[in-house]
């Protein structure tokens, strides 16, 4: 059989239709497509894809099982390395990880590893009804702070080794950024729930409505018999630009806008949490969070522009997300930097209900100058090139700074000048004995899979630490 030079395309909802609903955009492979895609894998000896995976899934082995139509077998291989395969198959940036290393990718398109992972995980979630082999308890207790990707991964790995793990979550539902940040159309919440349920079957206890640093401190957790603590408390306070008009009504941080829609279901008719149904939305920023906010605003009925100060080449969001956004009709205003957000003010009527709401945003054109320390070309503003873009809502998606609650209440926990927890890279060990950390709380805003990788690293280190103590 001749080798297919291209990946089997991912079936997706028609852009015009999906721009008006919150259903999942990508629909997933069917059995036949999955097997056929798996057959593209060369099963090469040096397995570069595994190196490209932050949690080192045995990729060629699971793909080999797919080839043989043994989808559950494939799942068992993935689940040895990943606690959240259905999530990763959807939101990992495979193009810069496993797939970027694929040997097939030298001449052709790489194997659709992410698509296959998603297929296998979805197959398992629908078809598997057997019992999970719960490991023998080893008598040790570990606390995990935060139920986002790093916390769930760390909890899963430790539970599978027999640890009694309790996850403390500040919000009313488990999942962290997977439920409050990533929209339904990219990651359905039933999938996150399913993954959380699987962890519970392994014996992980999840305590919602507990804010570590407030309700309980890290030191109190040790007092309650936990022998190690993993801090995966996630990203913190949203950043703003410090330009005039950021406190006008209709200016959101991406975190707030997405939390209202995703966590509080404000996109649904009859929801009790409000969200602005704007007509013209300007999203500031070029990362995945900016894409999520823009595409959410679009689905709520707005005409949406993304304003980014560099060019398409430097745009940090995943290529697939950018393509999806463009297909759905989102406009990119590149090489533009916001200068001021303008508010409506009726000079004749102080009580005009429109007063104080956003009515536009002034931007200035930029050119790319010399590369900065990260090698990205720095945007340089072109003097006198300001103009106004119409908008009744502005969403700031320019990153976050770490949450101060744990740092402020945990003696001996060192943070860097940005407020990120300092850890040993190979173990996730912090400056405080028995305390490990990972994910955005350490790195600042990054990806789900990097957080999972950090959770995995820490779980291994915690296991070694507690085994050595015996």
């Amino acid at each position: 059989m001749a080798l297919q030079p291209k990946k089997h395309p991912m079936p997706v909802q028609n852009p015009e239709v999906r721009a008006r609903n919150f259903g999942e955009v990508a629909l997933g492979y069917d059995d036949k497509t999955a097997v056929s895609e798996a057959q593209r894998c060369l099963n090469c000896k040096n397995r570069p894809c595994v190196e490209g995976c932050p949690v080192n899934i045995s990729i060629p082995e699971f793909i080999a099982k797919v080839k043989q139509n043994d989808f559950e077998g494939a799942y068992q291989i993935i689940s040895k390395s990943s606690s959240l395969p259905a999530v990763c198959g959807r939101v990992c940036p495979q193009e810069t990880q496993c797939e970027s290393k694929c040997t097939l990718g030298i001449k052709f398109e790489p194997v659709g590893i992410g698509r296959l992972e998603r297929f296998v995980a979805d197959y398992h979630n629908v078809n598997f009804s057997g019992d999970i082999a719960v490991p023998e308890p080893n008598g040790h207790k570990v606390a995990v702070v935060g139920s986002g990707p790093s916390g769930l991964t760390c909890a899963g790995d430790l539970a599978k080794k027999g640890y009694k793990v309790t996850v403390f979550e500040a919000l009313h539902i488990a999942g962290g950024v997977l439920v409050y940040g990533i929209p339904e159309f990219r990651l359905p919440k039933t999938i996150v729930q399913k993954e959380v349920e699987t962890l519970k079957k392994y014996g992980v206890d999840i305590q919602t409505n507990v804010v570590i640093g407030k309700t309980l401190t890290v030191d109190e957790l040790f007092g309650e018999g936990y022998e190690a603590v993993f801090v995966g408390s996630g990203a913190g306070l949203p950043r703003f630009m410090g330009i005039p008009g950021e406190s006008l009504k209709g200016v959101y941080s991406a975190n707030e806008f997405l939390t209202r829609s995703n966590l509080m279901k404000a996109y649904r008719e009859g929801a009790h949490t409000p969200i602005m149904h704007a007509k013209k939305v300007a999203v500031i920023g070029g990362g995945n969070v900016a894409m999520d906010a823009a595409r959410t605003a679009l689905r709520l009925g707005a005409e949406v522009r993304i304003i980014y100060r560099r060019s398409m080449e430097e745009l940090p969001a995943r290529k697939e997300e950018v393509e999806h956004a463009e297909e759905e009709g989102i406009r990119f205003e590149l090489l533009r930097n916001p200068v001021e957000i303008l508010g409506y003010n009726n000079p004749d009527d102080r009580r005009d209900p429109q007063n104080g709401y956003v009515c536009g945003i002034t931007v200035i054109k930029c050119e790319l100058g010399e590369p900065d320390e990260k090698g990205r070309r720095r945007p340089v503003e072109v003097a006198g090139s300001e103009y106004i873009i119409d908008a009744d809502c502005v969403i700031m998606a320019i990153g976050t700074s770490p949450n101060p609650l744990i740092k402020n209440t945990t003696e001996g926990l060192e943070v860097n000048r940005h407020g990120g927890i300092i850890v040993e890279e190979n173990t996730g060990q912090t400056s405080k004995e028995g305390v490990y950390a990972g994910g955005d709380a350490v790195t600042g805003a990054a990806t789900v899979i990097l957080a999972m990788g950090a959770g995995k690293t820490a779980a291994k280190a915690i296991d070694e630490y507690l085994s050595a103590k015996e």
């Binding site: 409505n209 507990v210 804010v211 949203p238 009504k249 939390t259 966590l263 279901k265 009790h272 602005m276």
Partner: protein, 280 residues
């Protein structure tokens, strides 16, 4: 699920509840707040802690029935449960070193001001309290304030109880009569706090205000509760809710608090209609 152990109507628009939440009760301090959801599809609303009993594991909340969520909360009775209750959040009111303080409370804000007054009283400070209401029917917590204040002035807008007028009147009079307060702590509607600050500023009396902006997570994630304080963006949930009143941009806070006024009215109307149907 969190059980309502006690419920009492303080006036027709204000209700008090003791909620069984031992972890929160263990840590709660005056000035901090909690976030609750009444039921599974409910919104998250912040309410400032109005008291706590560490032995019984209860946290007292006092809320005004103003919107859909507080209407739903008020439907719940003793023995019933609310879905979520998390805290204590925010920073406690700083009371160390204060010897003589004037507490100014407005409306349901008095419920939040009371534990601060009690804490100051317990640490031996001299507490003067000025509490204001629209009218006599809305008066709450008079006896409780009396018990912890060496001087209590009750004001009503219409003069139906206490003295007629706004809370800043007696505050200004007392200051002008030569009373020297270490601090004035004002908790109530934004407009009241704005005028308290305008009253104390000429005398340079340190003035703390408790802000209650729109909030979702309450843990420093969403940024919805941001305020401009001293020209900088601050977050009420982690930096507050108490701030130096002289530095708060009240006009901006007032504008932001009305962002969802239309939605809230619809929610209220929807709830009232539902209630009417049930009653029929």
């Amino acid at each position: 699920m969190y059980r309502i152990l006690n419920k009492r109507e303080l006036n027709p628009t204000v209700t008090m509840m003791d909620i069984y939440a031992p972890l929160v009760a263990k840590k709660a301090q005056a000035g901090q707040f909690i976030i609750l959801r009444v039921d599974d599809d409910g919104e998250r609303i912040p309410l400032t802690v109005a008291g706590y009993n560490r032995e019984k594991g209860t946290v007292k909340i006092i809320f005004q029935i103003v919107g859909g969520t507080t209407m739903r909360l008020n439907q719940k009775n003793e023995g019933e449960f609310i879905a979520d209750f998390v805290g204590p959040l925010g920073c406690a009111t700083k009371t160390e070193g204060l010897k003589k303080v004037c507490i100014v409370g407005g409306g349901v804000g008095c419920a939040i001001a009371l534990p601060v007054a009690q804490k100051l009283y317990e640490q031996g400070a001299e507490v003067h309290s000025v509490i204001g209401f629209r009218n006599k029917d809305l008066l709450i917590l008079e006896n409780e304030f009396k018990a912890c204040s060496s001087k209590l002035t009750v004001m009503t807008d219409d003069g139906s109880y206490g003295k007629q007028g706004v809370v800043t009147l007696p505050l200004k009079e007392t200051i002008e009569s030569g009373e020297r307060y270490d601090e004035v702590i004002a908790i109530g509607p934004l407009i009241m706090m704005k005028f308290v600050v305008a009253t104390t500023r000429p005398y340079n009396i340190p003035t703390t205000v408790s802000m209650n902006p729109i909030m979702i997570d309450g843990t420093g994630m969403c940024g919805g509760c941001r305020l401009t304080v001293g020209g900088k963006t601050k977050f009420a949930c982690v930096d507050g809710p108490d701030f130096n009143g002289f530095e708060v941009d009240f006009d901006e806070a007032m504008a932001r608090s009305s962002m969802y006024a239309d939605f809230e009215k619809r929610e209220r109307d929807a709830f009232c209609n539902l209630f009417k149907k049930e009653a029929n």
